[in-house]
């Protein structure tokens, strides 16, 4: 018996320890990271990345000490499967800042606000969830996201914008101004806010001074999934800024070439990092050198001392002829790329080792000038308007081949030799697009449209109900130089109440999304342990290359806002005139009146009798025969009598009617 008890006890202990170990695995986590990258046009990209995750509610409960409560409630209230909200100011320069790497594909966003969400609710509740979500978010982030509530402002892409079920909703507000009031609530979601850790670098004036600024919030949850291995909610916050370093000091010229400006964290942001946020699991800073830049290094090295690539990686930061990092990196991570010879290089620094007395202030000093270009997407997409006047126009999307031809070939579908380009475009309803006028030009020649369109889905705009959505996959030959797509539209007219303030500025057509389905933007690393670091696992994620086109500004005709009354009154006057003249023409009998006048002149009858007889003639719609002067009075009196009888009859009918219905 005692043995049995012992076994039971042992079993219980084992069980509890096992469950503890599971619970330990699924802890709330928060990590912070900063990725810095010099850009070819003498600017610096700073990409802050914060990730907090909460384990599933079933195993962990509903109380959190790191994960923001508001986001947790949001996910649970609206049953969000995935959501992304971005506030952007400025436009990502795809040519200079790159269009092929993971950061440009997932963090280059259209100006203004972009929101998409995928819900885990029945199909008929999706729209309601979306409406509630927009209101909740607009309260959370102090922005007018609630304008996305109306059905004319959002759309439901089926397959072109991320492959999801029909429960995805997508909306943009291109004209939304983004400023600190949006950043502050976003920072509030971080456990340390901007008081400690990497986020303390976010000095408002220096961040908003940049050329591009995009704050993004990405939410992924499998709370409502039925599968066993659930990860809970993952909240990913990232801020991408493109800054121009101050070129004071070492920004000189070397043999005619303008060198890259040297910078340090304190010169970029005006602040230094004093240790990591104590709540975060890791706080790392990475400096990334792009693939093309690395190949430039190697060429220079070959010229100077014919050393190998490995040297750069091992002790590159000190003995490098090109640049010098002010602090020794903790680790150097090299991209494992099987297609190209060189991959990009990341230098990892840990903020953990620094504190108040010795703050972390990473600096980069260029020793000699270097020129390189960013990796480009296979085709450079831009969009513009054609036509003039306020009646109609055309939208054109042009795709120009970038110079990186080897890249193009590598991504081309080997069997079919086609390059697939996905286009997703939302057009507001007052821009009435004629989808049958869709024309595709390849290398300047008009193509039979359906030959180059692999897949198309159009949901035309409904007046005042829904925007027009066009999703298509173009199939272009690999050797394509330029491709263009034009589509005609009519400019609609709005009701006076539907015009926004300052209607003469024009109306925005949101950015189109151009995706290159066969091209994956990711940096793969050899070391599998790196997948545990959130920012690096994000870089390794295989996502198709995406780019957003420009926002278009369409001027629409505006009515006279000041005087609706004038229009109403003049229209009513015209109608009254028409009505009156027609009635007059109907009633008048020219010949009869002439005779009447003659009668009146010839005969001195009283005006009352004449009028009455005229009236009676009209009532009876019969010829009014000239009355005999002798019997005129008697007749008129009889008419009078008849009239009275008629009036009484009508009054009686009315009284009976009244009585009957009461």
């Amino acid at each position: 018996m005692s043995i049995l008890k012992l076994y039971l006890l042992l079993f219980l202990v084992l069980l509890s320890s096992a469950s503890e170990s599971i619970a330990e695995e699924l802890e709330e986590e928060f990590t912070e990271a900063l990725l810095l990258r010099p850009l070819p046009d003498r600017k610096v990209l700073a990409h802050f990345h914060f990730q907090s995750s909460a384990p599933p509610t079933q195993t962990y409960g509903r109380h959190h000490h790191l994960f923001p409560k508001s986001i947790y409630q949001l996910v649970h209230k609206f049953q969000i499967r995935e959501m992304e909200l971005s506030f952007t100011q400025g436009r990502w320069n795809y040519e200079r800042w790159g269009g092929y790497d993971p950061i440009s594909s997932s963090n280059a966003k259209p100006p203004g606000v972009e929101l998409w969400a995928d819900f885990d609710v029945p199909q008929h509740q999706v729209d309601d969830s979306w409406k509630n979500l927009t209101h909740a978010l607009s309260g959370l982030f102090c922005a007018s996201i609630n304008f996305l509530e109306h059905s004319t402002a959002y759309s439901a892409p089926q397959w072109s914008f991320r492959s999801f079920s029909g429960k995805l909703r997508y909306g943009t507000l291109p004209r939304e101004a983004v400023c600190t009031e949006n950043l502050t609530p976003w920072l509030k979601l971080l456990p340390c806010r901007d008081k400690a850790g990497i986020s303390s670098l976010m000095d408002r004036p220096s961040i908003y001074r940049g050329y591009y600024h995009s704050q993004r919030l990405h939410l992924k949850s499998d709370e409502f999934a039925t599968s066993e291995s659930r990860t809970g909610i993952v909240l990913e916050q990232s801020l991408t800024v493109v800054l121009q370093p101050n070129t004071l000091g070492s920004g000189g010229t070397f043999s005619g070439k303008i060198s890259q400006p040297s910078w340090s964290l304190s010169s970029l942001f005006g602040r230094k990092v004093s240790g990591k946020c104590s709540l975060s699991n890791s706080g790392n800073v990475y400096v990334q050198f792009e693939q093309n830049l690395v190949s430039q290094f190697n060429e220079l090295k070959k010229h100077s001392e014919t050393s190998k690539n490995e040297i750069l990686i091992r002790d590159g930061f000190q003995s490098n002829p090109l640049f010098e990092l002010s602090l020794p990196p903790k680790r150097v991570i090299k991209e494992a790329d099987n297609l190209q010879k060189e991959g990009s290089i990341l230098y990892e620094f840990s903020v953990k080792d620094y504190d108040e007395s010795e703050p972390f202030d990473l600096g980069l000093r260029w020793k000699s000038p270097v020129v390189w270009s960013c990796q480009q997407a296979p085709l450079r997409a831009s969009r513009f308007l054609l036509g003039s006047g306020n009646e109609r126009g055309a939208i054109a999307i042009s795709l120009k081949s970038t110079r990186s031809n080897n890249l193009l070939k590598s991504g081309c579908n080997e069997k079919e030799r086609w390059l697939k380009v996905g286009i997703f475009q939302v057009v507001p309803w007052y821009v009435k697009v004629y989808y049958h006028t869709l024309e595709v030009f390849v290398d300047g020649e008009l193509q039979s449209t359906m030959d180059n369109v692999e897949q198309i889905r159009v949901s035309p705009s409904e007046d005042k109900v829904s925007p027009g959505v066009m999703e298509m996959v173009l199939r272009l030959p690999c050797s394509v130089k330029t491709a263009a797509l034009t589509i005609e539209f009519d400019k609609g007219f709005l009701h006076i109440d539907e015009y926004p303030p300052d209607a003469n500025q024009g109306f925005d057509i949101p950015s189109a999304v151009v995706s290159f389905i066969d091209f994956l933007a990711n940096i793969s690393f050899d070391d599998d342990s790196l997948k545990k670091v959130p920012i690096l696992s994000k870089l390794q994620e295989k996502i198709p290359v995406l780019s957003y086109t420009e926002v278009l500004l369409v001027p629409l005709t505006t009515p006279d806002f000041s005087m609706p009354y004038n229009v109403i009154t003049i229209t009513c006057t015209v109608f009254a005139l028409y009505f009156g003249s027609l009635l007059n023409a109907l009633r008048r009998r020219a010949g009869e009146e002439e005779r009447l006048l003659k009668e009146q002149a010839g005969r001195g009858a009283g005006p009352l009798t004449l009028m009455l007889s005229k009236l009676s003639a009209k009532l009876r719609r019969k010829t009014w025969e000239p009355p005999q002067s002798s019997s005129s009075f008697s007749r008129s009196s009889s008419i009078n009598y008849k009239l009275i009888v008629k009036v009484i009859l009508v009054a009686g009918v009315a009284a009976v009617w009244q009585f009957y219905f009461q």
Partner: protein
């Protein structure tokens, strides 16, 4: 004497054909320059209801197995879509090919001119017969060939030419309106019913023509000259071209011809048959896209609720763009009642002149309809 008149009529006929052919040639020439003239997109010519571009958008959507009415672009009849749709598909190499439209509109314009001529002829004949019966045969010889003139006026009317070259569907609607009047004036009840049903199906407003058509069928064309009896001297002075004007001066004395109920009942029978025929055809073509309810909502509902506020030559669009939302329904009712309001008084007043009554109805509805264009007054002009 008789030979002379025959010769004269022959010469006249020759002249008519010459002019008619000339007008057709003009249309063909103009349609070659249609790209430059760009008439099809002028708001004066094509309205949301009749624009061929919208029709081809509807056809394109239907080809993609979507409802042609999705996307508030197309508001016409599904029958028109299946007839005209294939013509409007564009040829890739030559750009948009609306030339096919010309092949439809030219005959429709031409045949409506011929119908006008025939109607005018029969009016003339009836008139002449009556005058003869009154012993006024010599008066008849002075009558101008009003049918020919009306047909030529229709063919050479700049409005009709513009609407034909501007590729919209209104010439077809006009043809059916005229067809119905022709059928009524010649006493062919099925034809009148067919024209009336199709015309009202296409543009709703010819619905009011039912009254003149019934009157025409019931009384026949002989009705008007009776009234000349009492005031003969007046009729002598005024040219017969302005017959309508006389009627305002002369009152109906009495009805000599009785109302023939038989023809009217036949008309209604045929109208019923045609309506059910048209509805069945529509239902078949709309089967996959929401059925007839959707069609009624998108065509007649669109006409009645003035949803499209793009400018046209009417007054309603600007009014409804500016009017306060609260009063919108009220004004919609007021403006549409304005058309209906005059039907009864006019019918009572002009019941002896059904052709003129039809003219007045057409004129009123072409002015007051929600999406007017220049092509509609062209019918009433002739």
């Amino acid at each position: 004497m008789e030979e002379k008149t025959e010769n004269g009529s022959k010469r006249k006929e020759l002249g008519f054909w010459k002019w008619a052919m000339a007008s057709v040639a003009l249309r063909i020439i103009l349609s070659f320059f249609s790209q430059n003239l760009n008439l099809s997109s002028r708001p004066e010519v094509s309205t949301p209801l009749t624009s061929l571009q919208r029709l081809s958008e509807g056809y394109w959507l239907k080809q993609l197995s979507m409802s042609p009415y999705s996307g508030s672009m197309f508001h016409g009849s599904p029958l028109l879509l299946s007839i005209l749709g294939p013509v409007t598909t564009k040829n890739v190499l030559t750009g948009p090919c609306y030339m096919g439209g010309v092949t439809f509109y030219m005959p429709s314009d031409f045949s409506s001119a011929i119908l006008i001529r025939a109607t005018g002829r029969s009016l003339e004949m009836a008139h002449g017969r009556h005058l003869k019966s009154l012993g006024l045969g010599k008066l008849f010889e002075e009558i101008l060939p009003s049918g020919d003139i009306a047909a030529l006026v229709y063919l050479w009317n700049p409005f009709t030419i513009v609407s034909c070259v501007g590729f919209n569907t209104s010439p077809i609607e006009n043809m059916f309106v005229i067809l119905s009047l022709f059928g009524a004036s010649t006493g062919i009840a099925p034809l009148a019913a067919f024209g009336w049903v199709i015309a009202s199906h296409l543009s709703l407003y010819p619905l009011v023509l039912v009254i003149p058509v019934i009157l025409l069928l019931g009384y026949g064309l002989d009705a008007p000259p009776n009234k000349l009896l009492s005031h003969f001297h007046v009729g002598d002075e005024i040219s017969t071209d302005h017959v309508e004007y006389q009627s305002l001066k002369n009152k109906p004395v009495e009805e000599t011809t009785s109302f023939s109920w038989k023809r009217v009942i036949a008309f209604f029978m045929w109208a019923f048959i045609w309506i059910s025929y048209v509805l069945i055809l529509c239902a078949i073509s709309m089967k996959e896209y929401g059925g007839l309810a959707e069609m009624f909502k998108r065509t007649y509902g669109f006409i009645l609720t003035v949803k499209d506020l793009s400018p046209n030559i009417g007054v309603l669009w600007y009014f409804f763009a500016e009017v306060f939302e609260y009063f919108r329904n009220f004004f919609l009712i007021v403006f549409h009642v304005n058309i209906l309001f005059m039907i009864l008084p006019l019918a009572i007043r002009l019941n002896h002149r059904p052709c003129f009554l039809a003219f007045v109805y057409l004129a009123i509805s072409s002015i007051l309809k929600s999406y007017p264009s220049v092509s509609y007054p062209s019918v009433s002009n002739s």
